[in-house]
């Protein structure tokens, strides 16, 4: 039997990866981002957020609700954001570490209709459906955490996010991201999580929830988005700032152009978080895809989504931040 001994000092590529850009390319995108943030700025719909940005060294035009962010503020925020984010489950066995290249899976969606699993009827999604999804995710080992998939349409829309948390926390002991609409719902969601965790400090030590807030493309942070980012930063809970640009619709039609505006939106959210509470955990999120130019609708199963997600992951790794990208 021929001996083939282990090679020494050999570098190997682990797992599967799609590398779209070189580091020089990513640097170009970073420079373009700095330029847009400094000169075009972001539309920020919250007075409190504008205060925070201004106190942090940004130029604020109150009338236009425009925040222009100097390069050093961006770099500071990238430095203070932790490179490792731990998301906890009610069951400590289900805790997750998010770092650079580690890959985790969760379901995700904003579905508003379902095919009833028992009758096959095509109908509106309900709170009970959300509970069932949580049970399913809890039972599937391949899913590392929950994340919402559908809207509860049989409850008051103003409290739907609260109902969602109630239904999910009761049916899974994995980590659950919450989706607040504004400061009020954010505070209540955090309070609910504190009740589950056993108090404010316990929740901070072991964050069994995180937040998800979505900037609006192009280059806008709505009032609700700002308020959610601020509340979770104050509570020291991880916040996923997730943008969904549509190339050709709400961002440039080119891949690189879309990455730049997407980057501005996500980093804008991260900077708000860091200026609210330095060192608060943040996640670099993306559902960015293309606009179907025939039907004027977002397509989340297209090849371009895969390309953009791979590029976004590389961008986040360039910044040494955990990323969260759409799988389709």
């Amino acid at each position: 039997m021929v001996k083939r001994n282990v090679s020494a000092g050999r570098s190997a590529w682990q797992g599967f990866g799609l590398k779209i850009f070189s580091d020089d390319d990513l640097y170009q995108i970073h420079l373009a981002t700095l330029e847009v943030l400094e000169h075009s700025g972001l539309y920020v719909q919250s007075n409190e957020a504008m205060d925070i940005f201004e106190n942090g060294g940004c130029k604020v035009d109150r009338q236009q609700k425009k925040v222009r962010i100097p390069a050093y503020v961006v770099e500071d925020a990238l430095n203070s954001a932790p490179q490792k984010v731990v998301l906890c489950g009610r069951d400590p066995e289900k805790d997750l570490v998010l770092e650079a290249n580690r890959v985790n899976f969760c379901p995700f969606g904003e579905g508003i209709m379902v095919n009833d699993p028992e009758t096959g009827e095509y109908r509106k999604s309900t709170k009970a459906d959300i509970a069932n999804v949580a049970k399913l995710v809890d039972g599937l080992d391949e899913y590392d955490m929950l994340e919402f998939t559908i809207a509860a349409r049989d409850v008051n829309p103003k409290t739907a996010c609260l109902h969602t948390y109630e239904a999910t926390v009761a049916n899974t002991s994995k980590h659950i991201p919450q989706s607040p609409d504004d400061a009020e719902t954010a505070k209540i969601l955090i309070e609910m999580a504190e009740a589950v965790a056993g108090g404010k400090e316990k929740l901070q030590q072991r964050p069994i929830v995180s937040g998800c807030a979505c900037p609006q493309s192009p280059l806008s942070l709505s009032r609700g988005c700002c308020e959610a980012i601020i509340e979770y930063a104050r509570a020291g809970l991880p916040m996923n700032v997730l943008s969904m640009a549509m190339a050709g619709g709400s961002s440039p039609v080119t891949l690189a152009g879309t990455l730049v505006t997407h980057n501005c939106e996500v980093l804008g959210g991260h900077i708000l978080a860091q200026l609210t509470r330095r060192g608060t955990p943040v996640i670099y999120g993306s559902s960015t895809t293309i606009l179907d130019l025939r039907r004027a609708t977002a397509t989340v199963g297209c090849p371009e989504l895969g390309m953009i997600s791979a590029a976004v992951a590389q961008m986040a790794q360039y910044y040494l931040l955990p990323s969260y990208v759409a799988g389709g």
Binding site: Q45, A160, Q216, M246, G248, A296
Partner: protein, 210 residues
């Protein structure tokens, strides 16, 4: 001499230069300005609407056609008084309170203008009170409301109620649209119509006013 059908074709092919050249030529030749607009420019956009609905034309092509049509209208406008400008009707449109999404609304506004409506676009995040004030000010034939989020949809019902309270409900037809919107929701809240896309919205408006 070029015909009005030729002008319509130039609009359809999105050629701003072509539209301007033909429009100027027709103006110089003394063609009736109203006919230039109706049988040339608007006719072109009507054809665009049909093809867009059928998935035969893409959004960028529709935008180019609308732009070309607009450049033709700009040339003809000085020749017509406000009263003589052909208009299918007046539409007031906006995205509801708490919602900043506007791509759909913008496409709808553009299609409506293209087929001959006068459109007043209020923008985004419009409260029921602001919709009411705008209806009082502009006196539109149709009010269109857009929403992307299930959490902001209720603003449509609130606005309809606000119009009822002010005694304005009967003076305007109300249409709604957006990703979470459906005919069922439109019926529930007492809207006059719902359309799933920009081209259908323009057709719906024509139907409601005929």
């Amino acid at each position: 001499m070029a015909s009005l059908e030729d002008l319509a074709r130039e609009v359809e092919s999105g050629s701003e230069d072509g539209v301007r050249a033909l429009t100027n030529q027709m103006i110089a030749d003394g063609v009736d300005p109203g006919a230039i607009i109706n049988q040339g420019l608007i006719a072109g956009m009507n054809a665009v609407g049909v093809r867009f609905k059928a998935g035969d034309m893409f959004v960028p092509e529709v935008l180019m056609a609308a732009k070309a049509m607009g450049s033709g209208v700009e040339l003809v406008k000085p020749l017509l008084s406000e009263a003589d400008m052909p208009a299918e009707g007046k539409v007031l449109i906006g995205t509801v309170e708490g919602d900043l999404h506007d791509i759909g609304k913008n496409l709808v506004a553009m299609m409506m203008e293209g087929v001959g409506f006068t459109v007043v676009d209020l923008g985004v995040d419009i409260s029921p009170e602001d919709f009411v004030e705008a209806v009082k000010l502009h006196k539109p034939d149709i009010l269109g409301m857009s929403a992307l989020l299930t959490t902001t949809m209720p603003g449509m019902e609130d606005t309809i109620e606000a119009l009822e309270e002010e005694g304005l409900r009967d003076q305007v037809k109300i249409i709604i649209g957006g990703a979470p919107i459906s005919q069922e929701f439109a019926d529930d809240i007492g809207a006059d119509g719902y359309a799933p896309d920009a081209a259908s919205a323009a057709d719906l408006c024509k139907q409601l006013l005929s």
